[in-house]
Amino acid sequence: MTYGLLMNLLDMVVMIGIYSIAAISLNLEYGFTGLSNFGKVAFFMVGAYTYAILAQAGVNFGVCMVASAVSAAAFGFLVSLPALRLREDYLAIVTLTSGEILRTIIQNQGIGGGYNGISITQIFHFQTLMAIRLANIGLAFAFLGICFIFSQLVANSPYGRIMRAIREDQTAAQSYGKNIQRYKSQVFIMGSAIAGIGGALFAQYSAHIEPGSFLPFLTFTIWMMVMLGGPGNNLGVILGAAVVQIFQKSAAILKDYVHLPVDPINVQYILFGILIILVLFYRPSGLLKESPVKPPKLKEPVNV
């Protein structure tokens, strides 16, 4: 294996970690609660820019991370105020446009370097690229671990049961005393905070971000990870993130090593389309099925 290929592979693993965090965030919203957030990239972007601007000002890493999560959560709360009161299809539209609006504002108002973006000093200053990439893998997966455990705890609690109930039938959930507006708002805030963490890690790793790094295609990619991996299953969406990322990156890597009559990137889009159709046909619930909320242990076994 050549050094270049190895570096590409390590880069892919870092990105799997970061995308998995974004996928877990969408899974809380869509997979468990049924909230169609088509503006995931906006919350990712808020985290990334918060991190970049603060890091640039010399603020310490831990504070930058917390601030990124908090600012993305605050943005999520703001968007949730009008969006969650509307019908479900409007939520999709409001979230989709919020991402585009935010990107346009950053671009045209010169925030964070405007069109040219902003460069960030990385936190790892090792001699070799390999050491830096390995350290970034450790960092991304440490945060992924935290987000995963958090998400699992929430999803497998009575709170998570209510999230699923809202997804299944929100009128029925409301009829059983659940303040659905409050739950949806909270889930949106949680999901946004986690997306913000992903965005911050992305900024830290990329060392440079610009409005063009946050196109709606990123939202689409995260959705594919969730749909492919299995909505409502946190391990599933990580698997989905890995599969999608391997797919995307290997096409890019292939481009440098093999000479095909067509651009592998285009082949990738075609294969991707086919993959999605196959999954929807044969495994509509994704690669891994949703795991039920674990019921407490019975004192006496249920007579079957």
Partner: protein, 266 residues
């Protein structure tokens, strides 16, 4: 009205319009504590509309509703639920991808783990609570002959079983007042009678009931008082036997005479 209202529910001149259609045209009724009240009337006369309005699923255009002496006109369904009213839908609205057991546990009140902070930081407490709730859920499911299906997804149940689960779930919520919309519809007559007997058992625990029901033999046996609705208005009320003997009842209900066709008044 004071807290010691002998009526658990008072409905006063409620009007509900859907666009130009007047579904409930000024209906009033009272439900004394610990009684079973039946609401009968031909299809489309506005029974379901009235029930949904009481529960806050839709707003009344006019009139007022008092529960335990307090107005509940402006409340959302979740707030009405918190006061102690539970509503079982005419067409079951279950959480289909969730297990029968999860459908039951959702209905339990006061779970600390229902709140975000509680779900993370009071794990020991809610685990204890869920044990008690689980016991209650399994007991109720057993009573309704659903034990075998405890871990099945609710969406896989048959129509009758869904109806049973809808009622079990409502009972799980320990209502002070239970609103049941045609609990016996779509289930066979033997099971229908069983459902009513079981509900009756729970009433002895102190619950009040407002039941929409078409089968007069069940109304005769289980209701303490009957309201008859026609074209959005309450047109007749009385003891079951009185109502059943009333010519007006036959006129509006089946457009026929006492002793006619499929209504059993034995």
């Amino acid at each position: 009205m004071s807290k010691i209202d002998p009526m658990i529910l008072r409905v006063r001149d409620v009007v509900k319009n859907y666009g130009g259609l007047c579904a409930v045209a000024g209906a009033s009724l009272d439900i004394p504590r610990r009684t079973t009240i039946a609401l009968v009337g031909p299809n489309g006369c506005g029974k379901t509309s009235l029930l949904k309005t009481i529960f806050g699923l839709q707003r009344a255009d006019e009139g007022s509703i008092y529960f335990e002496g307090e107005s509940i006109d402006e409340l959302q369904p979740n707030e009405v639920f918190d006061r102690g009213i539970v509503h079982a839908f005419q067409f079951p609205r279950l959480f289909n991808q969730m297990s029968v057991l999860d459908n039951m546990l959702i209905a339990a009140r006061g779970n600390r783990g229902d709140r975000f902070a509680g779900s993370l930081f009071s794990r020991k407490k809610w685990r204890e609570q869920e044990e008690t709730m689980l016991q209650k859920a399994t007991d109720t499911l057993k009573l309704m002959d659903l034990t075998r299906l405890t871990n099945e997804p609710a969406g896989s149940l048959s129509g009758g079983q869904k109806k049973l689960l809808e009622i079990s779930r409502a009972i799980m919520a320990e209502p002070k007042l239970l609103l049941l919309d045609e609990p016996a519809a779509g289930v066979n007559p033997v099971l229908a009678k069983k459902i009513f007997e079981k509900i009756e058992m729970f009433r002895h625990g102190g619950m009040s009931l407002l039941i929409i029901e078409h089968r007069m033999e069940l109304v005769m046996e289980f209701a303490n008082w009957v309201y008859v609705m026609d074209r959005g208005k309450i047109v007749l009320e009385g003891r079951p036997a009185e109502v059943a003997a009333s010519p007006l009842f036959y006129e509006i209900y089946i457009g026929g005479e006492p002793g006619g066709t499929d209504i059993c008044v034995s």
